[in-house]
Amino acid sequence: MDTSRFIAKHVINLPKSGIRDFFEVVAKMKDVISLGIGEPDFDTPWHIREAAIYALEKGKTHYTSNLGLIELRREISKYVEKNFHASYNPENEILVTVGVSEAIDIATRALINPGDKVMFHQPCYVSYHPSITLAHGEAVPVPTYAKDNFALTAEALRAAWQPGCKLLMLNLPCNPTGGTCSRAQIEAIAKFAIEKDLLVLSDEIYSELTFEGEHVSIASIPGMKERTIFLHGFSKAFAMTGWRIGYACGPAPLIEAMMKVHQYSMMCASIISQEGAVEALQRGEDGMKAMREQYHRRRDYIVRRLNEIGLKCHMPRGSFYAFPDVSVTGMSEKDFAVGLLQAERVAIVPGSAFGPNGTGFCRACFATSYEQLIEASTRIERYVQSLRT
């Protein structure tokens, strides 16, 4: 019997993640240096793990409020105020979610009417377009370019805008490009959002990993807090990817709407992860800074090496991804990635997996040890040289 006839049409048409496909191949090979895993190589700092263990020992195993532990929401409010200069009321303007991934899912489901248009910049994380599709919205991609170091410009927004656009999804610093925006660029985007009456959904998960200059949250720009949902979490800054814990901050009516979806689909985020998150916000700053310093050093190393090898790579101001241009080799980004994997057993992700403006580029994640980075650069260099002969 063909059970696939029961699958909803819009899900059949949803493409499988380009990253996962590639990695099925990688998983079967031995001795591969993977620069393709988008998560910190660090384990969660011990004091955070221990706080969660302690919580389990004390019997913290029950449901929490749908919105999340009030203690966590208070810490989030303090943290966001201090680091992002936007103040949110822990009682009704903050929602604790199962990762930023869930926050994006419930936001799109709470905000999109069938046919509503949603703008997002690409190359981008693989889930944005699918979340729009799953909520029956219409995706309006906005290109970002190497000449701008993949910052999102108001000009590009204006060129891509169409009547009927309701939402603008931002991810700054950006996965996969490492691009982020200056204060002036953020202000220009804010001005555009106000002009076109857009609601902004801002995923700032990589914001602590900003290596030069300031990270400016669009929620802190005058006039924007009332039309922004600020999304953040713990996965990258505190190495808590597997804990599945994040949060959304925004105007009370929007948080209430998201909470409606969340309470039926999730009830609440894991209490253990919430306890760990409290510890992270209360005492995790030193550990976070130490990790950031490591990423900074690794970034400087790998970007320098890639440029030396002949693969032009801009210096990403944020995130832990380098986005080199591999088109100089004459190969497509897919062929280059596959060829590199087969010849030298180094895995990087073809940029086209992240959107059409990723064509010609590959994403290399430098959240891995110095030894691995050094060895990977040696192998990439050998491969690029072999292409010349």
Partner: protein, 159 residues
């Protein structure tokens, strides 16, 4: 004892190339020995021995911890849980009036005190702690500090 370990323990700072010269091995041999020592869990890592007394923010303390042994695990589980904290430099099981000797460092006295009261003392199974703060170090891991070395005036030629 392995000649490579012996040479390492002497505390000189020879490069692997120099070690190879001294031991009459190739550098590859020395590296292979070191890799094997790592695999066997004998060589745990490399740390320079630094005198940080003048550096602001190097507060060290030694804590005597009394814990209850557990069925099936003795002191191991608790000792491991305590050892995993970044603040803990070393943790030893001792004979005598207490169970664990824990060496701790932090950037301020308050931070070390907070670690002891909030993280260490509150673990289930920890009966008591006695914290002693380090005032001055005279010898660090085999190296004397602040001791004036005599000028070496050995004769260049002697019968």
């Amino acid at each position: 004892m392995n000649p490579v370990i012996k040479l390492l323990l002497e505390g000189g700072s020879l490069s692997t190339a120099q070690m190879a010269q001294v031991l009459n091995l190739t550098e590859a041999d020395v590296n292979r020995e070191l890799e094997q020592l790592k695999k066997d869990g004998i060589l745990l890592g490399w740390r320079p021995v630094l005198n940080l007394a003048d550096e602001a923010g190097a507060v060290r303390a030694v804590i005597e911890v009394r814990i209850t042994p557990e069925r099936g695990g003795g002191f191991n589980r608790l000792a491991e849980r305590i050892s995993r904290f970044d603040e803990v430099e070393s943790c030893y099981l001792m004979s005598g009036g207490y169970d664990l000797l824990v060496f701790v460092s932090g950037s301020t006295l308050q931070k070390v005190a907070a670690f002891v009261s909030e993280k260490l003392s509150s673990i289930e199974g920890v009966l008591s702690t006695a914290t002693h703060f380090l005032l001055r170090s005279y010898k660090e891991q085999g190296f004397l500090l602040d001791v004036k070395t005599e000028e070496n005036d050995r004769l260049k030629v002697a019968p």
